[in-house]
Symmetry: C2
Subunit: 247 residues, 2 copies
């Protein structure tokens, strides 16, 4: 931890000098520690096959860059995605939901804000075959038995002290209904909802349009680049964080 | 088809001039048409989730480049992978095994050599949900019902005229046994087997080591870069192709 603080100090110092001005010292998240998850998770079926989803990680990586720009110390827990690590971000690569939960638990203790942007697989195969499963010549059908993964977002929201917790909801229908339900059920502070049935925004697009919900209100953001949207989301998160009492 | 031939002619002419010498006019596959499949396939579960495998596509893309260098006209049918298309290769991007079969069927008619390097998913979900499947709060388990995908390699080997057909076998155990079984069962000319349980070679590595089997013999290739191995494999394929009678 001492090492981490020393590194964080020098990272901050370095970037202030690099930028030639002190964005970080005056940023809306100056001095705050933020943990962000991003990308998909992969759930192994056997040594060659897996279950996953279309999350590209772009939104989470853009949020990490925006949080650094706002002065935060950022840890990015990333599922498998082919993206460059934003400057001054501490990146922890993981594969499965269980890996991601482990990495989050190791970094959550001193974190002020947690943003769960990863598309964590809801289920994983009950058994991971140690050898590649062979097709049976006489079987045209098979089934993969799945068991529910831990809910990382809900778990973070039950920790004490609880960080300010932001979730994401990628939905294809009844977006507002599912998002408000998720906000309440998980006991988190903000939820960012997007409609992934629209291919021009969402998973693999460079653009996104979202609506953010909280218990007393909501705010819609029109389609923009994920970088621009990330900066607006960080500003909104910082505004709500100011009135948040750690419990 | 006329358009394709004209394009192929100009592609060939261009590369001869570009290289400043006539590799292609004297290459071991000069004038031959080669179709190569590469990468994984993705089998949709619902609008956000899919089944896939760890194939990176590197080996198939290296084979496409090596076949061009040997003078062939090359069509590369590629599953989802983030690789640049080698020069002078006609690339057809696909997602699922059914897409891949469709693309192969459209390009196989006048092809002399077919190399099935893709890691085609053996099974796909029986039903693709039109909306994102929701977790049921009271269900900790679920199952995905799967149905067998078409066997593209075996299908190609039953076409008339039959191209010289090369398969790949990615195995984690009893590699030689499964490879020889696959060679015979599918009625193909060569099979290239590698042991993907060794992380230093295989799926996402830049290196590979394989053993090639044919009915009367076999040849082992020690670990080398996929580019170097691809050139050796193309040479071996061209030697065997010389004695192949189209049926």
């Amino acid at each position: 931890q001492i090492l981490e603080r020393v590194q964080a100090f020098f990272n901050n110092t370095t970037s202030i000098h690099e930028n030639g001005h002190s964005i970080q010292a005056t940023g809306v998240l100056h001095g705050r520690s933020v943990v962000i998850t991003a990308g998909p998770t992969r759930e192994a079926i056997d040594p060659v096959r897996y279950l996953s989803n279309y999350s590209s990680g772009k939104m989470g990586f853009a949020l990490a860059a925006a949080a650094v720009k706002a002065g935060a110390s950022v840890t990015l827990v990333a599922g498998p995605c082919q993206l460059a690590t934003p400057a001054h971000v501490t990146r922890v690569d993981v594969v499965s939901a269980l890996d991601m939960q482990q990495a989050v638990s190791e970094h959550i203790a001193h974190c002020d804000i947690f943003i769960g942007c990863a598309a964590v697989a809801d289920f994983r195969p009950v058994q991971v075959a140690q050898q590649k499963m062979k097709k049976q010549q006489d079987h045209d059908h098979m089934a993969i038995e799945l068991v529910k993964n831990p809910d990382i977002l809900a778990w973070v929201a039950t920790q004490s002290p609880t960080p300010f917790t932001v979730g994401f909801a990628a939905e294809t229908n009844e977006v507002a209904k599912y998002a408000r339900d998720k906000l309440e059920r998980k006991g988190i502070q903000l939820i960012v909802a997007n409609d992934v049935s629209d291919a021009t925004i969402g998973f693999n697009s460079d653009n996104n349009a979202v609506t953010v919900y909280w218990p007393e209100g909501e705010k819609a953001f029109a389609t923009s680049t994920k970088e621009s949207l990330a900066e607006n989301l960080v500003t909104l998160i910082a505004e709500h964080y100011k009135n948040f009492k750690k419990q």
